[in-house]
Amino acid sequence: MELLAVLLQAAADAGLAGIGAGLAAVGAGMGIGRIGASALESMARQPEATGDIRANMIVAAALVEGVALFAVIVCLLVVL
């Protein structure tokens, strides 16, 4: 089928760049997952600090995501 051929062609061309972007996604998922987990745990331990914890969680998540998107940009530059 043409669609399968198109998808396979894209995979062959992008190659390692695709794997790199996937690894970046894994890294971001693991990092932000840990941030979320520890934030939820500390909110459970001390509910009155929820606002502070939430704000710091979001900041830390944005920083971690920034690093992951570095890798995505590099992979994009490889492909282009």
């Binding site: 669609l3 061309d13 704000a55 979001i58 900041v59 920083l63 920034g66 995505v72 940009i73």
Partner: protein
């Protein structure tokens, strides 16, 4: 037992986004259908381009199959027009600085005069679309001089051109977006400032009361904790400006059908914002800042020799990271949404029914992604402002040990 009227309210609130979603789906899917339709016979194309010049006027070239990568890149990058829908576009002025002085003309002269050349890409022969007017050619949104024989030389094997580039100072889509953002900022905050002056001492009313929580949020949650209460006011104008500029610019990029602004997703814009942060940090750095940077206290001497080069690199790397974080987040969001659209178009090319079917699911995903992008728009503005405030606070720190 829930009040039946509350259920009515909920469904009414849902109906407007559903209506928008339906409209968007209708237009997108009929676009897929139209893509299929342009492969039709000569007769159909003659009927299409009888009176006004259209974007696809020439009938002697074969239509390329849909190239998702090219479509996504085209929508991410800058353009000389704001393409609204179908053939309707807002043509922005082209301003060129040539040997004969400034030349200003509307880009409609370019976009109504499309030429084609063939080139090879990955072994497949494709059409290169470029636009010609006067002595200039517009190819992939760069403007080149035509050579002496009046032609744009596109190398058959690479698809690149070797003509000379013109010094291009045009108002492009991103520039128009920046000007629009600035106009919105001036109108919004001008009226807020006027209300504050007129109603000083009274409770805020109208647009004032809408903006006040955001302004106080930046002051009390971002600036004062990072910089300190007595020095925060010096940096507040910049922090407020950069926060609202980035937020409004991000939101502009999310509006469909107005040509797809990608203001903060271009490296040039974020480079300037990061450079301003760098300049402010460097010039407001006091003795303690430079002292701690070049001779960190409380660190064993051998480690100082490793730490100081890293700190010096950090002066430059921190604004660069700010720049890339903002660009990458916004561009990634746009690419995801465009990827869903191109999914519909890819399936639509093989059969119209597949296009409709995929269109339904893809549109739902797209709506979900749009909500996430709304959050990201605010979040990236907040993170940029927070980090800038932290850097300023670092630079103006007083001795506290």
């Amino acid at each position: 037992m829930r009040n039946p009227f509350s259920l009515l309210n909920q469904s009414f609130l849902l109906s407007f986004p559903l209506f928008l979603a339906g409209l968007f789906a209708l237009v997108t899917i009929s676009g897929a259908f139209a893509q299929h339709g342009e492969n039709d016979t000569e007769l159909h194309q003659e009927v299409n381009h009888d009176s006004d010049s259209t974007h696809h006027q020439s009938s002697e070239h074969t239509k390329d199959p849909f190239d998702a990568g090219e479509m996504i890149l085209h929508h991410i990058s800058d353009a000389h027009e704001i393409h609204v829908i179908g053939d309707f576009a807002i043509y922005l002025p082209v301003i060129l600085y040539t040997d004969m002085g400034f030349k200003v003309f509307s880009s409609s002269h370019f976009y109504h005069n499309e030429q084609h050349a063939k080139y090879l890409k990955d072994g497949v022969e494709k059409n290169a679309h470029y636009f010609v007017y006067d002595q200039y050619a517009l190819y992939h949104e760069h403007i080149y001089y035509l050579d002496d024989s009046g032609a744009l030389n596109i190398d058959y094997n690479t698809g690149e051109t070797s003509n000379a580039v013109v010094f291009d100072l045009s108002i492009t889509k991103s520039v128009a977006g920046i000007l629009l953002t600035c106009a919105l900022l001036i109108i919004l905050f001008g009226s807020v400032a006027k209300s504050y002056k007129r109603r000083s001492g009274q409770a805020p009313k109208g647009i004032q009361s809408f903006m006040e929580p955001f302004i106080l949020f930046i002051r009390d949650e971002v600036a004062i904790p990072s910089i300190g209460a007595h020095r925060a006011d010096r940096f507040m104008p910049f922090l407020l400006t950069v926060f609202f500029f980035i937020w409004i610019a991000n939101m502009l990029g999310l509006i469909p059908f107005i040509g797809g602004f990608n203001i903060t997703g271009t490296l040039s814009v974020t480079l300037v914002l990061a450079a301003i942060v760098f300049v402010i940090t460097t010039f407001s750095g006091n003795k303690h800042y430079w002292g701690h940077l070049l001779w960190p206290p409380g660190v064993p001497t051998p480690i100082k020799f490793i730490l100081v080069p890293i700190e010096i690199l950090g002066i430059f790397i921190k604004p660069v990271v700010l720049m890339i974080r903002l660009t990458a987040n916004i561009t990634a969001g746009h690419i995801i949404i465009l990827a869903f659209v191109s999914l519909i178009l890819i399936f639509g090319e093989s059969s119209a029914t597949a296009g409709y079917g995929v269109g339904f699911g893809a549109t739902l995903f797209m709506i979900f992604m749009f909500f996430i992008e709304l959050l990201v728009a605010f979040l990236q503005a907040y993170v940029f402002t927070l980090l800038a405030a932290l850097y300023f606070g670092d630079a103006t720190q007083e001795a506290h040990h």
